[in-house]
């Protein structure tokens, strides 16, 4: 009996017989080499078996995950990218972290419009077709929620790379420069600010200085070469390179120019940083330089002493990553890691460093320096300035404790 027929039969039979069937098949790990595994002695699925591809079934654990106890409802909540299983600077579209305030709307692009008005010469209403006719640009940028790492402000809480750093993702975005659209409507002299607003139930809106809008903001309809995912703002979103995730308005439907900022709920009640003296910082848009070792990490322990490649990601909203140093002893000594091309402005940058682990306990950490000379701070340095109630913008050095059995834990150093 051929193996394929045998398998088919096994599946059709009852549970106990199916188990018997399994035992009859050669265990590829035991027998190969030299024996061929079943997939080498059979014919695979044909083209368009999966017209839109998907990861291998054995990668089913590599998914966005949430912290159910963190928020009251999944509609106003966040999910985290599985950084521990990603290998480059581009986040696959299905794994890009999510942050919604009124759930994910499923928008008909034929009905979606972008309105640009306020202090402009010629207010416009654009369809998706109109927007796609404008000269297009593609740029690679990260987006990070400023609350990424927020759960570790007070103490090391999340024993996981995914949950401590997974609110950052990076994609190639394609769309129109916002400056092109604003020139097309004609900016009136008094205009200094823009209010950007989404078409979701939150009608999410934020104020942006006009200078930033004209500098490098993009109105995008594509992500990594395909249409935006609904979770990322389909059919249209704003990308504000290097600035906190919340201003990168998804499902973008309106841009209004004005003389002053709006002080919306999301830039007063939220996304402001409470200091120990009771004052708050508002309009703290910039994502400061940050880095993290992605291997080893709590999800990816070490497998006995020997030679390893330390791997990690670094990024800054303030230009390019210039250097990353890695320490294995909790910051006593540092070695400069290798940066991998491409090193792009306001994009994730990959670094690696070979490490021969002797099996003794270690404290592994990375520290990025950006092109302005800014050095990623320790959590103690941040707390000295901001206390531990500011929720947002925790860009501190992450330390992973490696125990002698190879297991890895999220720790903070005094």
């Amino acid at each position: 009996m051929g193996r394929r027929r045998f398998l088919g039969l096994g599946a059709a039979l009852t549970g106990s017989l199916a188990v018997g069937g399994k035992q009859a098949i050669a265990d590829p790990a035991q027998e190969s080499p030299p024996a061929d595994a079943p997939w080498s002695q059979s014919i695979g699925a044909g083209v368009v078996d999966r017209p839109y591809g998907r990861p291998a079934d054995t990668e089913a654990s590599v998914i966005r995950r949430n912290v159910p106890w963190l928020t009251a409802s999944a509609e106003s909540s966040v999910s985290f990218s599985p950084l521990q299983d990603l290998h480059g600077i581009i986040t696959p579209n299905g794994l890009f972290f999510e942050r919604h305030h009124a759930g994910r709307p499923d928008i008909d692009p034929a009905q979606h419009k972008l309105m640009i008005h306020g202090l402009v010469e010629r207010p416009l209403l654009l369809t998706m077709k109109d927007i796609m006719r404008f000269p297009s640009v593609s740029r690679i940028h990260f987006i990070e929620c400023p609350a990424n790492g927020g759960m570790n402000w007070r103490a090391a809480q999340m024993n996981s790379l995914q949950f401590s750093h997974g609110m950052v993702s990076c994609a190639e975005w394609t769309g129109v420069k916002l400056s092109t659209l604003l020139e097309e409507v004609g900016i009136k002299k008094q205009a200094k600010w823009a209010m950007v607003e989404g078409a979701d139930g939150a009608h999410m809106n934020r104020s942006l200085p006009l200078d930033k809008c004209l500098d490098d903001c993009l109105v995008v309809y594509a992500q990594n070469g395909e249409a935006l995912r609904p979770e990322q703002g389909y059919p249209l979103r704003l990308v504000v390179p290097g600035w906190e995730g919340n201003v990168n308005i998804k499902w973008l439907r309106r841009i209004k120019l004005g003389e002053k900022p709006w002080h919306t709920r999301e830039e007063t009640s939220k996304y402001t940083d409470l200091m120990p003296d009771g004052t708050s910082r508002g309009f703290t848009w910039l994502i400061d330089a940050k880095s993290v070792v992605t291997f080893p990490c709590p999800e990816k322990p070490l497998d006995g002493p020997g030679l390893y490649e330390i791997r990690g990601l670094a990024w800054t909203g303030n230009g390019k990553v210039k250097r990353v140093d890695v320490s294995m002893d909790g910051g006593v000594n540092w070695q400069t890691a290798r940066l991998h091309e491409p090193v792009l402005s306001k994009a994730l940058t990959k670094f690696t460093l070979p490490w021969r682990w002797d099996g003794r306990p270690a404290l592994v950490a990375s520290r990025v320096i950006d092109e302005n000379g800014y050095v990623q701070p320790t959590i103690a340095q941040l707390r000295a300035q901001r206390g531990s109630n500011s929720v947002y913008h925790n860009n501190s050095i992450q330390t992973w404790q490696v125990k002698s059995d190879g297991s890895v834990f999220n720790v903070q150093l005094a």
């Binding site: 654990s61 998914i63 995950r65 159910p68 106890w69 009251a72 409802s73 305030h101 009124a102 309105m115 008005h117 010469e121 010629r122 207010p123 416009l124 654009l126 109109d130 927007i131 006719r133 404008f134 103490a155 809480q157 999340m158 024993n159 996981s160 995914q162 949950f163 020139e183 097309e184 004609g186 209010m195 009608h203 309106r254 209004k256 004005g258 002053k260 709006w262 919306t264 709920r265 007063t268 009640s269 120990p276 003296d277 009771g278 708050s280 703290t284 400061d288 999800e299 140093d325 910051g331 006593v332 000594n333 540092w334 070695q335 050095v375 300035q385 404790q401 834990f409 999220n410 005094a414």
Partner: protein, 224 residues
């Protein structure tokens, strides 16, 4: 011939660059895509309100008592009858004087700097399951009710486009609207940066039992 070409070419290049620049300075409407938004179309979407001075607040008004009625129907299930917040849903009252505490409670009463922002947020985002479905009058009434719950306005207060910008919010003057970062600066030391004997773990996530699993199906853990 050869030398004049050498001179001419840069001049032509400059002229071309100027012409391109003129085109690039883009007169409004130079692409001509889309349609000019009509005043009626703009009015349909023009919902934003400026927090500081209430610019954009529409006509209409609402009382604290009317607000209490709408609130009981549309908001109390999540935010609690008196704004105390059900479960993990946000509190709308309390926390006054707590902002310097170990566990501060930022709310409308303790934290929000501008009252018109409250009208704007309720109007655009609440109630959560049916956002932007309330009348302007009801949003005014809810705003009056929540401000009154927070002892920011008296029971007779009527919220409208003139009264809301005048409400003095407790935390109004405690925001700094310019970013003082970078607020840490260090030199990147490479060797013997700290005394090895002083390296001490001050906190660990080990054994805290707060982290959902990161393999297998999604975790449903709730906080203990």
């Amino acid at each position: 011939m050869y030398s004049s070409r050498k001179i001419c070419l840069p001049i032509i290049a400059i002229l071309l660059a100027c012409a391109a620049n003129l085109a690039g300075a883009a007169e409004p409407g130079s692409f001509g895509y889309g349609s000019v938004a009509t005043p009626a179309q703009i009015a349909g979407w023009d919902i934003d309100v400026r927090g500081e001075d209430g610019t954009g607040l529409p006509p209409g008004n609402g009382t604290v008592d009317r607000g209490a009625e709408v609130y009981a129907e549309q908001c109390a299930a999540c935010h609690g009858t008196f704004g105390e917040g059900e479960g993990r849903f946000p509190k709308l009252v309390g926390g006054v004087g707590s902002l310097r505490d170990e566990r501060p409670e930022p709310t409308v009463g303790s934290y929000w700097p501008f009252a018109p922002t409250l009208w704007d947020y309720i109007n655009r985002a609440m109630p959560m399951q049916a956002p932007h479905t309330l009348s302007a009058d009801d949003v005014y009434a809810l705003t009056a009710y929540i401000l009154n719950l927070n002892d920011l306005v008296p029971h007779e207060f009527v919220a409208d486009r003139n009264s809301l910008p005048k409400v003095k919010m407790r935390n109004r003057d405690n925001f700094i609207w310019t970013d003082p970062r970078p607020d840490t600066m260090t030199k990147p030391c490479m060797n013997d940066c700290v005394n090895a004997a002083d390296v001490r773990i001050s906190s660990t996530a080990e054994g805290r039992n707060l982290t959902p699993r990161t393999t297998g199906p999604l975790d449903t853990m709730q906080q203990k």
